[in-house]
């Protein structure tokens, strides 16, 4: 692959990456659009609000930058990815989007600050696209270990609040009370992935780069989400009334909002 001077061809990277993202969003989006509009809005058009915000931030950074010169265009690989994009699967589309982002990132000729905005936009899109397939794979391959950890952490908090708690795999029993089975949807892993995506998108939008010294903030985000999620599960195991309140849409939305607001505190704003 020789060096290419025609700049218009460099638009092929954003076209493939963003077309993959749009194709990944389409199935859930179409499902919610067949419901009443207010319902679709309240459900984020089938996707988490963090995802929409991250997409907007990535697009905003990209639109404010001039595409820099590339050393390689990887056209045969990109056309192969586009053919696979025809398969109607959201997960496949996200994977293709990730691969397109990787090719886009590898194509830079300059290492100067000139392309840092473009790189920031790619990194946000890469984080968005890799989140779902990785979470799905982890929750399938290590569901036992992940849910067991959630139960242990939540059970430990419940033990401090109430005592007399028995933890058995992903079940928390409160002696003389009810039991709570932690299912995949309640796991902290999904919330951690959204919080990290939010943190990374905001950080890259503001600073255009991630520094090594920022990584302790990642630990802070993970710790914050773990504490909030495990406290929620501990309260749900404590009393059935708490379970009903925190498991309903209003309660879970409140917890989600608190999680995202506290995540934003870990972003270096200046």
């Amino acid at each position: 692959m020789s060096s290419i001077s025609n700049k218009s061809i460099f638009y092929i990277f954003p076209i493939v990456a963003w077309a993959s993202a749009v194709n990944a969003l389409l199935p859930s989006l179409l499902n919610t659009l067949s419901k009443p509009f207010s319902n679709a809005v309240s459900h984020g058009f089938g996707h988490n609000y963090v995802l929409w915000l991250s997409l907007i931030l990535s697009a905003k950074v990209l639109l404010n930058t001039n595409l820099s010169h590339k050393s390689k265009v990887y056209l045969p690989y990109l056309s192969l990815l586009s053919i696979f994009l025809i398969l109607p699967s959201a997960t496949t589309s996200w994977l293709i989007c990730s691969m397109a982002c990787v090719f886009w990132f590898l194509s830079f000729r300059e290492t100067s600050d000139k392309c840092k905005f473009e790189k920031a936009s790619i990194l946000i899109l890469l984080a968005i696209s890799i989140r779902e397939p990785v979470c799905q794979l982890l929750l399938s391959l290590f569901s036992n270990e992940i849910l067991r950890f959630d139960a242990w952490a939540s059970g430990s908090i419940l033990d401090i609040i109430y005592g007399n708690t028995v933890i058995q795999n992903n079940l928390i029993h409160k002696n003389g009370g009810h039991s709570l089975l932690i299912l995949t949807g309640c796991s902290a892993l999904s919330n951690i992935s959204w919080a990290l995506l939010l943190w990374m998108s905001l950080t890259l939008y503001i600073h255009s780069t991630l520094k090594t010294c920022d990584y302790w903030r990642v630990v802070g985000v993970i710790f914050t989400v773990l504490v909030i999620n495990c406290s929620r599960l501990a309260l749900m195991a404590l009393e059935e009334d708490y379970y009903r309140v925190l498991h309903q849409q209003g309660g879970s939305m409140l917890i989600e909002t608190i999680t995202l607001v506290l995540t934003a505190f870990w972003v270096k704003w200046r």
């Binding site: 061809i9 586009s82 109607p88 929750l139």
Partner: protein, 161 residues
Amino acid sequence: MNINIIIILLASTLIAPINRVYKHYQNIANLHEENPTYSSPVDLIFLGKRPILNQGPYELAGYRHRDCSGSIAIVRLYRNSEGSHILKSKIQGININHGVIFNGKVYDDFPQLIFTYEQIKIKFQSLIGLDVTPLTATAFAEKGSCNIAASLAGFYQNEKI
């Protein structure tokens, strides 16, 4: 214009979205509620089913052996191993044997690696248009020495449940 660019533009911005919209309307037309079936070998008597949790998809079903003194409780598992420990906490005892039936075999614990591999395989097969049955594993708690779990494993394998 380069042939690769034509392929990219056609496939990613035209054919792929049209295919998704087509698939969406096809799914709406074929939409039907899928309830788990509890058919079993002739030597087992179905005892009934009931929800095992206040919320969620998990159901407890029971069978008794016709000729031998033994019974089994089962829970169908869908996504992953999340429901595989319910029976271990609900049904305990000295002579109770716990395990998971998957792909015609009986495992002591939920086979996460094999299940994930089969899940990926089935998703790929359905993507290329092959007719596939949804993947399920079955957690069980068995009492007695009739080896009902092994008999159910063989039955599920033959019936493609």
